[in-house]
Amino acid sequence: MRVAILQFPGSNCDWDSEHAIRDVLGVSAHRVWHKARLPSETEAVIVPGGFSFGDYLRCGAIARFSPIMHDLKEFAERGGQVLGICNGFQILCESGLLPGALIRNDCLDFRCLNQNLTVENSNERFNQNTLGGSLVLPIAHGEGNFRADESVLSSLEENQQVLIRYDGNPNGSVNAIAGIRNSAGNVYGMMPHPERAVCSHHPCLDGLPVLKAFLEPLLGSIPVEVNSG
C-alpha cells in the first residue's frame, strides 16, 4: 500500500478519497483505522473529511488524541507526505501539524456548493502552472473559517504557504484562505474537496491536478493513468 487514508469514527469521505486515489488515479490506497498503526510501507497519508468523533467540542479536537496521530506526527516529521481535506484539515490544525484554526462559517450555516478558487504560486508542486490559475472544487462544511494570529498569518503569506484562496469568501476566512501547507512543504490542508471532482459525472475534474500535485513525490514524472469514466 502506498497511500493510507485514515479512518476515524465519524470520517465520511474516506470511501470517496480511496475511490479517487485507487480507482481513478490507479495508486494503491487503503483505509487505516484510527486505533491501528500506520503501516511501515506508507508513502503518503490522506486525512479525509467527515465529522470525526461527531465534531463535538471542536472540529478535530478529539481526533488529535487518537492512537494513530502519534504515528502520523512521526511520519510527518520524517518528511512524509500528508494531505488533510476538510475535517482532515481541521484535525491537522488541531494537532499542530499545520498552523491556524478553523471556526464556524461567518454565515453560521453549513455550505455545500461548487466554489471558485484562485491558485497561488506556493511551491514547485502547487502553483499556477501545475494546477492552472483558477479551480472549481466542491466545498461542504460548517466550520471552514480559517483564522490565525497576525504573526502566523504574515509568515504564511511571506513563505508562500497559501495554496488556494476562495473567490467571494463563502465562510469568512482571513485573507480568503482555502488551503495551506507547512513550511517544510510536506503537510497540506484544504477545506475544498478535490476527491469530489475527479469523475466524468462530477461537476468538473479540477480535483485531479490537485491530487496529482500532492502525490507527485510518489509518482515522479511517470504520467498517471487516469480513469475518470
Binding site: 465534531d55 450555516d109 455545500c112
Partner: protein, 770 residues
C-alpha cells in the same frame, strides 16, 4: 373490573407497576374502552401498567395503522410485468423497508417516514431524529444508505413562528444527514396556510445492497441470543408513538419529553458497525431498529415475524439514567439503538465488531419456544404477552366517511367569477409566482445539505429529480428520486389530487431520463375519526392505488401520519409520493436548464386552459378554489414514454415539466441555468390569457432540441399520439419575450426574474435574523 386470573403476574418491586388500572389511566393511554375489553380477553387478566403502556404504543395508529390498514391493501405491492426491471424483492409491510431489484444483482431499499408532530414542538430535534429513524430502517435491511430527500410543508413563511420552524427543521436535517455523510438530494417544499402550527417533515432514505445480503427482522432459532446494540436508554421520547397519534393542541409543547434527541455521530457508528457485522456470513439471524415504541416494538415485532417467543431482561439493558422502571425502559424512544439476534455460539464475533466501534452490545435475552414476549426486571416478570396480540391482532377500523362541503363547492366554482389578467399585469403576475416560496429557488435549503458526499451526485438538487450514480456498487447506473404532492389539488379533489401527485412525480423522473420503478408514500392527513377527514384519506388512497396499478409501479412501503390538526382544523390532505427511477447511462441523464442559444423549444401536451387550484389563483386572487385539472393516465403515459424514448435517442437537450405556476414559470426555471440566455416564444391567442400562461393542466412538458433534430422529434411525437407544438427558440438576448398571436405580451430580463426567484427565500429568512 374483570376477575384477575390465576396467571396474574407477581407483585412488582416497583410500586408504580402495582397501581390499579383505572378508566382514566386507560383513556390517557389512548386505549378505547372496547379495546381494553379485547386486551382483557386476550390476557385473561388485567394488564399491569407496563403492559398497558406496551399495548398503547403498539396499538397506536403510528405502529398498528389501525385506521388505515384496510385502505393500504388497495395498493399494488408487486409488478404485474414479471420481466420488467424493478421487481419487488421485499414487499411493503414485510420488513423495515421495501427492496426492489435494479439489475446486476443489486437491490435498492427505500422508504419515507414522517416526523411531523415532534418537529412541530421541537423543529431541530424533531427533523434530525426523523432522518435518523429512516436511515436506520434502511441499513437494518443490510443496505448502505446512498441518498436522502425530504418532503417538507410549512405555513405562511412571513409568519415569524413559521420561519423559526423552517429554519429549525432545515438545520436539524442538515446537522444529522451531513454528519452521517449521506448525500441529501433535496426533495420538495410547499408553503401553505393550512400547515400553520402543524408542519410536515417527511424523510426518505434509499440504500443499495446485494440481493443475497437482504436482512430479515425476524427472531428465529430457539436459544439464539438477543442483543441490544447502540448507546444507552434514557427517558427521552417516552411514548412518542402514541404522542404522534394525537392531535396537536396549544398544550402540546408540554409534551417536549416525548420528543427524542438525536446524536448523528452515534448513528454513524451504529451504521458502520451494523454493516460490518452483517457482512460476516451467517452471523446475523434477525435485526430491527428501535424506532417508534423502542424496545417494545422491536421485541414483539421480531418475535411475531419469526413465529416464536422472546424473553428479555431489562437489568441487562444499557441505561444512561438511573432509577428507570420497566415502563420507562420499554417505552423509551432513545435514538440510535438496534435489536440484533445472532447465531448461538457466535456471540464473540458480534461483540468484537461493536467493541471496535466503541458501542454497547448487551446480551439482553433469548429467542424462546412458543409465542410470548416475556420481559423481566429486577428478577420479576413485568410483562408476559402473546407477541402477535400486539402486532397482527391489533384492532383494525373502518371509519365512516362523508364528502366535505368545500369539495362540492370547489367543483362548482367558475373561473368566470374572476377577471382575466391584463397584458400589463403579466410581468408582475409572473414575478409574484416566482416570489412565492413554494415556487422560488430552494437553494437556501439544499446548500445547507451535503449533496456531494459519497462522490455520486450527478444532478444537484433543484432540478426535476435528484440523480446519484451507483458508484458504491461500482456500476455505471444512475438512481433518480423525486417527491411530489400539491396539497391544493388534494384539498379540492382528493382522488384527482393524489393522482396528480403521482403523475407529476413520475413526469419529473421521465424529464430526467429515468424509468419509474416503485413508490414509497407518506400519507399525511387529519383525524380519521372525523368522517370528512376520513373521506379525504380514502379518496386519496384510491386515486394513488389506481395510478399505481395503471403504470405498474407498485408501492413498496411508506408511512401514515394522521391527526395532523392544529387550532382551526386539519391540514390539507397530503399524500406525498416519492418515486425511484433508474437511468441506464450517463448520457441519458437530462436536466431542466437551457444553456445555449439556438435551441428549439417544443411544448408537449397542448394548450388546455384550466385554472382551478392553481398557484396563480393564490398569488393573484388569494383563492384556493376551482375544479382540479383533468388527469388522463393514458395521455400521461404517452408523454412520458415519448420523453424517455427520445432521451435514449439522444434528441433531448433539456426537459422540464409544467407544474406549479404553469407555462411561464416552467420556461423561466429552464432559463435559470449558468448562462442566463434568452428565449423568444409564440403562443396562440385563444381563450383566457391567465389560464394559458399560468394554468396548471397536467401531462405537459417543455423540451429543448437542436434545430436539426426538431422535425424528427415532432414526427415521433405524432406517431406516439402526443400533441407537440413549436414554442420558440433560445437566444443570447438575456430576455424572455412572449408573443400571443402577433402581440408581444411580455418582454423582461431573465436576470431580473432570476433575482426574484433566487432571493425570495433568503430575503424572507434574512429579515428574521435580529
Amino acid at each position: 373490573m374483570s376477575q384477575i386470573s390465576s396467571t396474574s403476574l407477581p407483585l412488582n418491586p416497583d410500586p408504580v407497576l402495582n397501581v390499579e388500572i383505572t378508566d382514566d389511566l386507560i383513556e390517557r393511554h389512548g386505549i378505547l374502552p372496547q379495546e381494553y375489553q379485547e386486551i382483557l380477553a386476550m390476557l385473561g387478566r388485567e394488564p399491569n401498567l407496563t403492559e398497558l403502556g406496551i399495548f398503547s404504543v403498539m396499538w397506536s395508529e403510528h405502529c398498528a395503522y389501525k385506521n388505515t390498514r384496510k385502505l393500504l391493501r388497495l395498493f399494488p405491492t408487486e409488478k404485474k410485468d414479471k420481466q420488467a426491471i424493478g421487481q419487488v424483492l421485499v414487499k411493503a409491510g414485510e420488513e423495515n423497508a421495501g427492496v426492489i431489484d435494479v439489475g446486476d444483482g443489486w437491490g435498492v431499499a427505500f422508504k419515507i417516514e414522517s416526523h411531523n408532530h415532534p418537529s412541530a414542538i421541537e423543529p431541530f430535534e424533531g427533523a434530525a431524529t426523523g432522518v435518523g429513524g429512516i436511515v436506520r430502517d434502511i441499513f437494518t435491511m443490510g443496505a448502505r444508505p446512498i441518498l436522502l430527500t425530504n418532503s417538507l410543508r410549512f405555513g405562511d413563511l412571513n409568519d415569524p413562528h413559521v420561519k423559526r420552524l423552517f429554519r429549525g427543521v432545515v438545520s436539524g436535517i442538515s446537522h444529522y444527514g451531513n454528519c452521517l455523510g449521506i448525500p441529501n438530494m433535496g426533495g420538495d417544499i410547499y408553503f401553505d396556510q393550512c400547515y400553520e402550527g402543524n408542519p410536515l417533515v417527511n424523510a426518505l432514505c434509499a440504500g443499495i445492497l446485494r440481493h443475497e445480503d437482504i436482512q430479515k427482522g425476524a427472531a428465529t432459532g430457539v436459544g439464539n441470543p438477543v442483543y441490544y446494540v447502540g448507546p444507552g436508554t434514557g427517558r427521552d421520547g417516552l411514548g412518542g408513538a402514541s404522542f404522534a397519534s394525537r392531535e396537536l393542541t396549544a398544550e402540546s409543547t408540554e409534551d417536549r419529553p416525548a420528543v427524542q434527541k438525536g446524536d448523528p455521530f452515534m448513528e454513524k457508528l451504529l451504521l458502520e458497525a451494523c454493516l460490518e457485522m452483517m457482512a460476516i456470513p451467517g452471523l446475523v439471524v434477525g435485526i430491527q431498529d428501535m424506532g417508534a415504541a423502542g424496545l417494545t416494538c422491536s421485541t414483539c415485532e421480531t418475535a411475531s415475524r419469526g413465529n416464536s417467543g422472546i424473553e428479555i431482561d431489562l437489568d441487562s439493558v444499557p441505561q444512561r439514567e438511573t432509577g428507570m422502571n420497566s415502563y420507562e425502559i420499554m417505552l423509551s424512544e432513545s435514538q440510535e439503538r438496534m435489536l440484533v439476534i445472532v447465531q448461538k455460539g457466535r456471540e464473540k464475533e458480534l461483540e468484537e465488531v461493536f467493541e471496535k466501534w466503541d458501542l454497547h452490545a448487551a446480551h439482553i435475552g433469548e429467542v424462546k419456544q412458543g409465542d410470548r414476549m416475556v420481559v423481566r426486571h429486577k428478577g420479576v416478570v413485568v410483562a408476559d404477552l402473546p407477541a402477535k396480540s400486539l402486532t397482527d391482532e391489533a384492532p383494525v377500523y373502518d371509519q365512516p366517511a362523508s364528502e366535505p362541503a368545500h369539495v362540492v363547492k370547489a367543483r362548482n366554482w367558475s373561473v368566470e367569477s374572476i377577471p382575466d389578467i391584463s397584458v400589463k399585469e403579466i410581468e408582475s403576475g409572473l414575478k409574484n409566482l416566482l416570489n412565492h416560496p413554494t415556487i422560488a429557488s430552494k437553494r437556501w435549503v439544499w446548500q445547507q445539505y451535503d449533496h456531494m458526499v459519497m462522490s455520486g451526485c450527478k444532478v444537484e438538487p433543484g432540478s426535476d429529480a435528484g440523480v446519484v450514480r451507483l458508484s458504491i456498487a461500482e456500476i455505471d447506473k444512475y438512481l433518480a428520486i423525486a417527491n411530489d404532492c400539491n396539497n391544493r389539488f388534494c384539498n379540492l379533489d382528493p382522488y384527482k389530487g393524489a393522482q396528480i401527485a403521482f403523475v407529476e412525480c413520475m413526469r419529473n423522473l421521465a424529464c430526467s431520463g429515468a424509468k419509474a420503478l416503485a413508490v414509497t408514500d407518506n400519507l399525511n392527513f387529519g383525524n380519521p375519526n372525523k368522517p370528512e377527514a376520513y373521506h379525504m384519506l380514502k379518496e386519496c388512497v384510491k386515486g394513488l392505488a389506481d395510478a399505481c396499478a395503471f403504470f405498474d409501479v407498485p408501492v413498496v412501503g411508506g408511512n401514515v401520519s394522521l391527526y395532523n390538526e392544529h387550532g382551526d382544523g386539519a391540514i390539507d390532505p397530503t399524500p406525498v409520493v416519492s418515486m425511484v427511477g433508474l437511468i441506464d447511462n450517463q448520457e441519458h441523464v437530462t436536466k431542466a436548464h437551457l444553456e445555449h442559444a439556438g435551441l428549439e423549444l417544443i411544448l408537449l401536451g397542448g394548450w388546455p386552459t384550466e385554472l382551478g387550484g392553481s398557484y396563480y389563483l393564490q398569488t393573484q386572487h388569494a383563492k384556493k378554489e376551482g375544479a382540479v385539472p383533468e388527469v388522463s393516465l393514458e395521455n400521461e403515459k404517452k408523454v412520458q414514454d415519448l420523453l424517455i424514448g427520445q432521451i435514449k435517442e439522444g434528441r433531448l437537450v433539456a426537459a422540464h415539466d409544467l407544474s406549479e405556476g404553469g407555462l411561464l414559470v416552467c420556461l423561466a426555471e429552464m432559463l435559470f441555468g449558468k448562462n442566463k440566455i434568452g428565449v423568444s416564444v409564440s403562443i396562440p391567442a385563444n381563450g383566457r390569457i391567465d389560464a394559458t400562461l399560468f394554468g396548471e393542466s397536467q401531462g405537459r412538458v417543455i423540451v429543448a432540441v437542436s434545430s436539426s433534430d426538431s422535425n424528427a422529434f415532432i414526427s415521433c411525437s405524432k406517431t406516439a399520439g402526443v400533441q407537440a407544438n413549436f414554442l420558440g427558440r433560445t437566444s443570447d438576448s438575456g430576455m424572455m419575450q412572449i408573443k400571443m398571436g402577433e402581440k408581444v405580451v411580455l418582454s423582461t430580463s431573465i436576470a431580473d426574474l432570476h433575482s426574484v426567484w433566487e432571493n425570495a427565500i433568503p430575503d424572507c429568512m434574512e429579515s428574521s435574523r435580529s
